[in-house]
Each structure stands twice: as structure tokens, then as C-alpha cells.
Subunit: 400 residues, 2 copies
């Protein structure tokens, strides 16, 4: 019996409300002695830490740096080592591409084909506007077809996402990408018998694309990789009997939320938009995932000062969360993004939980090191969901 | 390789002695700032905390509230998500019913049957003395039969336990209970082919019971649910090479101890009786599970003051444990029972271990929050058994 099986048996539907604020990439490592969170003035988060119980979480395993997919899956109670989201599906979600059960998606590059060889796998990094024009060409030429229905979605520069929609598609496919310049284009091949139809559909598209783009001087072929079907993953309403809402501005996080059965909303790009949306829909749901991106973006840029500012910005919105009086309020991160490392890292996430049934600890400031002394100890992110449900009174007793 | 497999390979029989004092439901949450354990004067437990090493344990998983079965299994080193004890077996153990390998037991209600419908599933909550008289009637009428041998054991009010003893019984059976008044009685049905015999045996009993009770005005039918066979669970002497003793006043804990291969003794209802029994049999065993119930009972009643008093009562007996000079002394709980919640909860258990090989920490008082700062950290209860065996010198090195 694991948590997923257990959750179906033990969860009960109640009116209590859980708010989970994910400050993306929050954790850091010291620069001149202080992490970004230690350097930031966060009197609201500090007050929550004083009221609640704190700890540190490992998203996957100690030492493992997670992508956004596994880091979020863990937070929602899905074992990130059991559930794997393909790159294609994450790219599609990130590009705001709607993906349904049965759809096959892949990441694409426009490339330069000359005398039967791929001479530039990125087609000279054409501008995004060119990419949009080429995707328009492909979509117009393919518009008449209904089985399969094929749609191409422009990304940045030479990148796009392609979605194949028909029955019987599988994603056990090799990449249709020679990986190096100066080699001929290669078709995809099925890695399992059930992917034979998908392979034929994809290869027909690759041939058609060359035909449609034959007048183009630079971007006259397509390469595809990271084939993924819509993953078969249990939905949070089914696992936990929740009516969850995902409140995020960025398509990838919204897409992830949708994938897990959360209701998502159109949210503007400002931090205030997250809280406006939360307040507007607070009566309709019992679980709220609120995603704040700026901390991660600043960390990825290696911009320590911008990350400190981003932390201070979100801290100012904490009173709006408190005013809603959720039964359980958790503030944490999906993974760390230290500015000093310019990217995601394996460092644990500060975690705080406020609830009337919590045993408050002596953590008086919300920082990585202070949370390390909290009563929750250091624990895998995947335990956060049972903990939140327990404090919300949404879990029955296990066993007699 | 898991701990159960490992234990068979690594444990050795020695003369060293382990005492595990389980203060049932010990942990709490604050009321006016203090948990029951924080409010209690516990100078003996505090002295042990100062001498030893402390931590906090999670019985099943963070957030999961365990019943007494899984909570105790964890403490004895059995993964509570792998070993599940059915309600019937726990009810039988709690009623002091002897259950052997192959027996099938179930929880029963006397009910009122009128014109073919169950009009009262609890037979007007007949007094316990009536229940005893009715069980006597059934047992007298069934006494002649040897295959199956059927015995009924009276519980409180309308409740009883029935035990079926013959070969080839299985517990994959639906409840023989319409769950609501105003419906006809329903027979049990097998959920798997191997339960066909059990199903026939149970249904014959239900028919016979109506015949035997036909002159009764109120309690003239039986409903059964929670069918369980004696679980197949490895015994502690086989897993750990221990000669364990279970010292408990309450039948359920005694029954659980017996199930795991511990020797149990008749123990009076007073707290002193636990320690008298421990001292009387200290030479005969190398592992002692001592179960103290009053803390849990007070917590279930929501009686904060009674729980504080119960903690202070057990604290006064600690010097008698110390006087025995066990090689390893552990004081902990199976699960928390905060008076504020009137029942079991998911909060972690304070844990202290005293042994000459322990690394003492700075924990100077035995409370939930002080233990949270202990060197053992926060860990699953299932790790307690290897820890105790190690400190007792009963575990060999793993690997070369």
C-alpha cells in the first residue's frame, strides 16, 4: 500500500480550505554569507513561521536537482520517481498547447536541409516572427486533414511544438533528429509494436513538411524529439476528493495543474493578479495552488538582487492570504534556484505550515537554515500533501 | 532487501535486555500554549531525556493518523503499510478471544428482524447482560458441532465477536450487514474463489442464529462484518531471535503482543501491576513491551487535565524501570492522542532512548518540541526496532 492507494481510501470531502503558495526556486545558497531569503526583509513570512511549524523538503531525493515537472508532482503527493512527464508534454504545456487524452506531442526545430543533409539543426536561429509565419504555412497546408489532425504551435526562434490528434497513438518513438549537423534527416522508429501507427503518422508529417516548406531558403525541414502522449496520471479530485484550483500566470504551471485535474483560470502577469484570482474564486474550491514565478526567473538569471526583491515582493502579499483565513496555509517552493548557480539545484526547500492543529515550533524567521531546525524536520516533498490534508481534517484514520 | 529480511540475517541472541515503554497516545497539541506533556511535571522522564538521545517518530507516514494496530506494528519493526490487521481480528483481540492460525473471526451485532426486514441494526442497544445471555444461548445450541466449531463472545451492549474454527477458511467476504434499518438481512458473499467455504459456513450460522433466537422479542438476528482470518505475520522470536514479553492490562494490546509471538501475562488494572509483572519476569526475557493506556483514554475523552495526571502517574514509575538496569530503555508512544482533538492524530511521537552506547544530545526535557531538536531527528517508527536491537548489541554488521 502506498500513499496514492491510501489516499483514495482515507480522504474525505470537507469544506475546509487549503492554500499552497509555491514560491518557485525560493531556496538558495549564501552569497557574502546570506542566502537570498536570509537577505530579504520578510516580516510577513517570518510572522507565519513563528505561528506555524517548519521544516525542509527534498523534492525527489537528497542531491537530486529536479525539473519543474518532478518538483511539482512531489508537492501534489505524486511520487516523482514513479510518474514521469515527458519533455514533449511539458513543452506543450509551457507553450499553452491544449493536450487531451490520446494526443501525441513533440518538440520541434525548424532546420536547414541542403543536398539531402541537415546543414543547420536550428535554421540559423530564425526570429520568432519567422517561426510564427512558418507554423502558419504548415497549419494552413494541413488544415484540411481530419485524421490525423495535426497542429503546429510556434515557440521562440526555431522552436515549435507539434500535436498529432487521432486514435491509437503511442510515444515509444525514437527522436527524428540526427542530433548533429551534416547528417541526413532521420525518420522516427517505433520502440514497441503499439507505436507503429504513431511512427507512420509522424514520418508522413516530416515528409509533408519538406514539401510544404520547399520554397523556404533557410527553414525548409522539421526535426522532432521528445515524443509524449498525454500521461496517464490520476487526477487530484479522484485521489483526494478535492475541488482544486491552480492559480498561475505561466502556461507550464497552469498546464501541469490542468493535467492533475485542477480548475485553472486566466491570470494576468502581475503578482497582484494571482491574489485577485484567488480571492475571486475562494468560495468555489477547497484546495488552491498559487504559483509565483519571479524568484525562479531571477535565480536562473543569476541575479541575486532581483531574487531578493522578488522575495520581498511576494512577502507583501502574505496578509491577503491570511485575510482569507484558510484552514491550512503552506508556503514553500518546488525546488531551489540559487542565484549563485544560475539554475535549479538539489538544495532543500524551506517549508512552513500554519493551521490550528499544528504544533508550533520555535522557528521565528522563514529561512532555509531556520526551517532546518523546525519540528517537521527534513522530509520528502511527497509527504506535504498528506500533511496538508491531515491538518485540514480531510484524512480518516488508517487501520483499526 | 528490506528490514524484515535483514533482521533475520543480522540479529543475534544475547543476554542484553531491552525495555520499551509505550505511553499510549502520549503526544498532543498545545492548549493555552502547552501540550499535555509540556504541562505535566515529569522529572524522571526529563532526567532520562538528559541522559539519552531523543527524536520524533511518524507511525505510518507524515499526516497519517493510525489506529492502534498499525501504530504498534511500526514500533515492533513491521511496515504498517505492508501488514494490515483486519478489524475483526483486532476486535477479537480486544475482547480477549483466543485466535489461532486458520480461525476466521468477525464483529457481530444482535439485531431486530420483523416481517423479513431488519428494523433495528442494534436491537435497541440491549444491555450487556442480555448480550451475554444471548451469546450463552447460541453457544449452547452450537456446542455439539465440531466442524466448524463456532463460538460467540459477548461484547458491550448489542456487540459480539464470532469465531469459526475449521480448515480452509478465508476472509475475502462481503459484510453480512444491510448497513441501514428497514432492509432485509443479507448473506455474506465470497470475493474470491478460496472464500467459498467460509461464505457457506458463515451463512449457515446466520440462518441457524435466526432459528435459535426465534423466541426472542428484540434480539432475534445476527449481523456480521469485518471478517478476518488470523493474519500471517512473522513472529518476533523468528525475526529478531528475541524472547519477548508483552506486559499490558488491556486485551487488545495483549492480543497484539501474542500475535507477534510475545509471551503475555495476566496483568491487573493498576499501573503498579505493569511494573510488578515486569519485575517478576525480568529474568525470563530479553525484550519487554510495557503498555500504559491511561494517557490515550484521557486524550480520547478530550480530558486534558486527566491526560496530564496520567503522564505524571507513569513518570513516578520510571525509577522502577531504571532500577532494573536494562541495556536499552526506550520511552515513546504508538501514536498521538491530543485532548484537543478527542482522538488519535497524525502528530509525531516523542521518543527517547537511554543506553551506554547512545550519543546523548542536549534534550533536557521530555516533550514533543524538545524531542524535535534531538539527535535522532524525525524518523519513521519502523526504525525504532533496529535502533533498539543495535544499542542492545543484538545486530551484526551488514555486508563486508
Amino acid at each position: 500500500m502506498n500513499w496514492e492507494e491510501l489516499s483514495k481510501e482515507l480522504t474525505i470531502q470537507t469544506d475546509s480550505k487549503i492554500v499552497l503558495l509555491v514560491i518557485d526556486g525560493l531556496g538558495g545558497i549564501p552569497v557574502r554569507g546570506k542566502t537570498e531569503l536570509e537577505a530579504a526583509e520578510t516580516r510577513n513570512l517570518d510572522r507565519l513561521a513563528l505561528q506555524g511549524t517548519c521544516g525542509l523538503t527534498d523534492p525527489v531525493l537528497m542531491g537530486i536537482t529536479p525539473g519543474s515537472g518532478p518538483a511539482h508532482l512531489g508537492l501534489f503527493g505524486y511520487d516523482p520517481l514513479r510518474h514521469v512527464l515527458g519533455r514533449g508534454i511539458l513543452e506543450a504545456l509551457g507553450s499553452d498547447v491544449e493536450v487531451k487524452e490520446g494526443d501525441l506531442v513533440a518538440r520541434g526545430n525548424f532546420a536547414t536541409l541542403k543536398d539531402g543533409l541537415i546543414t543547420d539543426r536550428r535554421a540559423g536561429r530564425i526570429p520568432t516572427s519567422e517561426c510564427e509565419r512558418l507554423c502558419g504555412l504548415l497549419n494552413a497546408a494541413l488544415a484540411g486533414r481530419k485524421d490525423p489532425e495535426i497542429t503546429v504551435f510556434a515557440g521562440k526562434e526555431h522552436r515549435f511544438v507539434v500535436r498529432f490528434r487521432t486514435s491509437g497513438l503511442a510515444d515509444a518513438l525514437t527522436d527524428a533528429d540526427p542530433q548533429k549537423d551534416g547528417k541526413p534527416p532521420i525518420p522516427t522508429a517505433p520502440l514497441a509494436p503499439e507505436a507503429a501507427k504513431a511512427s507512420a503518422v509522424v514520418n508522413a508529417f516530416l515528409t509533408d513538411a519538406i514539401q510544404i516548406l520547399k520554397a523556404e531558403p533557410v527553414a525548409n525541414a522539421a526535426l522532432l524529439r521528445g515524443f509524449s502522449v498525454h500521461p496517464s496520471i490520476p487526477r487530484m479530485p479522484d485521489l483526494y476528493k478535492l475541488r482544486p484550483a491552480g492559480i498561475a500566470s505561466y502556461p507550464m504551471y497552469k498546464g501541469l495543474a490542468k493535467l492533475l485535474g485542477m480548475t485553472t483560470y486566466k491570470v494576468g502577469p502581475e503578482t497582484a493578479d494571482l491574489f485577485d484570482t484567488l480571492e475571486a474564486h475562494f468560495a468555489e474550491h477547497d484546495f488552491f495552488y498559487v504559483h509565483y514565478k519571479k524568484t525562479d526567473a531571477a535565480g536562473e538569471d543569476g541575479n541575486y538582487a532581483a531574487k531578493v526583491a522578488a522575495i520581498e515582493e511576494i512577502d507583501a502579499f502574505i496578509p491577503r492570504l491570511e485575510a482569507l483565513k484558510p484552514d491550512v496555509l503552506v508556503v514553500t517552493a518546488d525546488h531551489s534556484t540559487p542565484a549563485a548557480l544560475h539554475g535549479h539545484s538539489w538544495h532543500p526547500n524551506p517549508f512552513l505550515l500554519v493551521s490550528p492543529t499544528a504544533l508550533p515550533d520555535e522557528t521565528g524567521v522563514f529561512t532555509e537554515r531556520a526551517c532546518g531546525g523546525g519540528l517537521l524536520g527534513r522530509f520528502p516533498s511527497v509527504n506535504a500533501m498528506p500533511l496538508m490534508l491531515a491538518h485540514a481534517g480531510k484524512l480518516k484514520k488508517y487501520g483499526a
